[in-house]
Symmetry: C2
Subunit: 297 residues, 2 copies
Amino acid sequence: MTTEFTDWVRAHRARIEDWLAVHLPGQDLLPGRLHEAMRYSVLGGGKRMRPLLAYAAGELAGATAAQVDVVAGAVELIHAYSLVHDDMPCMDNDVLRRGRPTCHVQFGEATALLVGDSLQSLAFELLAGTLVCDDARDQLRLLRLLGEASGAQGMAGGQAFDLASVQSALTLPELESMHQRKTGALIRAAILLGAGCGKGVDATTHAALDHFAKAAGLAFQVIDDVLDAEADTATLGKTAGKDAADGKPTYVSLLGLRDARSLAQELYSGALAALEPLGNSAGRLRALAAFIVERRH
Amino acid sequence: MTTEFTDWVRAHRARIEDWLAVHLPGQDLLPGRLHEAMRYSVLGGGKRMRPLLAYAAGELAGATAAQVDVVAGAVELIHAYSLVHDDMPCMDNDVLRRGRPTCHVQFGEATALLVGDSLQSLAFELLAGTLVCDDARDQLRLLRLLGEASGAQGMAGGQAFDLASVQSALTLPELESMHQRKTGALIRAAILLGAGCGKGVDATTHAALDHFAKAAGLAFQVIDDVLDAEADTATLGKTAGKDAADGKPTYVSLLGLRDARSLAQELYSGALAALEPLGNSAGRLRALAAFIVERRH
C-alpha cells in the first residue's frame, strides 16, 4: 500500500468515527443505558470497510465528503446492528468482538436486542434526514436500496440461510448465494450509495461498480473464512475457528485453504477487471480491493 | 358506532391486510422459512389501529387511498416487528399473541430475531419505494419521522424504559413519558404520515393532529392497561394479567381501575378538543378515538 493510500484510509476512518460519535445519541440523554450500549457497539473499532468503499465510490460521483458521510454512516450503522444481533445467544452466541465483550455480554440480551433495533432505525432516520442527492427522488432510491440490502432478500436473509446451513453440506454455488446476501448485499449497497451521492454516476459507471462490488464483496468473505481458519483470536479480535467449531460450511471447509486463497485471488482479478472502463478515477477502489484480499484481520 | 363507520373500518382493515399480503415476500421465495415466519407474524389478525388512523388522517390531506396504503403498511410493519421482538424470551417472554403462539414459539428464537429485523427493513424499503408525496423532499421527511418514531428516542427507547421499570416505582409523569415513546410515538407517526401524503396538510391542521395524536395514543395505552387487568386471556388473545405478574408499573397499578378509566375518558375529551379546529372533516378520527376507548381487546 502506498503512503498516500494509507493516509487516506486513516483520515477517512477518523472522519466516519467522528461522524458516528456526533450522530449516535448521547449517554446523557434518556434512555442512557440504551444509548451507552449503542455507542459501545458502534464506536471504537472496526475496519470501517463499508464506509471506505462508500467514500471511494463517492469520489466517482464528484460528491462532497459531507454528502458521503451520511450514506457511509448509515451503512455502517446497519452493519453494526447486524453484528450485535448475530452475536446473540440465539444466533452465533459469540462473546468477543473487536477484542471486547460483545454487546449482550456487556449489557444483557434485552438491551442488545434493542441496540440492534435502534441502530437500524437510526440508519434510515439519518439517511432520510439530510439531502445527499441533487434530486430528492434519487435519495428515495438510495433509501430503498439500503432497505433491500438489509432485509429478507439481503443481509438478514443471508443470516437466515447461514443458520439453516449449520451441519449441512452446501455446494459452492449455494455458499456463494448465501454470502452474496449475508455480506455482499451491504458491501454492494455501500458502493452504490456512495456513487449515488450528489449528481450520481452514469449507467456505464454504475454497471462497472455493481460488477466490482459483487466480486470484491465475495473476496471479502472468502478471506474472512481463510482468516477464521488461520489466525488466532488475539489477532482477529473475535473468536477464531468458530465457524468450523459450529459446523458451518465455509470456503475453507469446501475448498481447503490453498484453493480458497486462489479463489480470493481470482475474485480480486475479476474486481480489477470490472473497474477497467473507469480508468484512473477508480484508483482508490483498486487499492481497497487489494486491501481486502491482503488484510490480516 | 354507526354502520357507516363500522363498514369503513371493515373495508380498510381488509384493504391493508391485502396490501400487506402482496408486499410481504412469498413463502415460495428463498429463504422460505424466514418469509413464512414474517407472514405469520404480520397477517391474519390485529386491530390495525395504526393503519386506520393513517387512512383517516390521509383523508384530511386529500390523499388517495393508494398513497396512504404505503404509509399505513410501513407503520404496521414496524408495529409488527416490535411485537415479535418484545415477545422474545429475553424481553417480555410471552407465548401467546393474537390467539396464536408467538413467533419465537412457532419458529424458534433465531428466526424471530431475523423476522423483526427484516420487517423493519421492509417498512423503510417500501416507504422509500413508492412516491406518496407530491414533493419527494416531503417524503424524505416522512421517512425521517418514521425512523425517529421507531428508534431510541421513540418506540425502542420506550421499550428500554419499560424493561428498566420492572419492580420499580414510577411516578405518573414517568409512566406517561415511557408510554409516549413506547406506543405513543408510532401512533403519532401513523397519523402524521397519513396526513403527510399527497400535498399534505396546512400548519394548523398539522398542529391539531399532533395534539390529537398525543392524547389518543396515551388513551390507547391506558385502556390497554385496564384491559390487561380486567379481561381474560381468551378475549384478549394474549396473556392477560401479565404486566402485574411481571411487576410492571401500569396505569391500573398506579391509579387503580376506576381512576385509570377516568383518565382514559379525560384523554378522550382532550383528543376531541384538539380536533375542534378541523370541524366536520375530522369525523373519522373522532370515531376512531371513541373506538380506542370503548374497545374490549
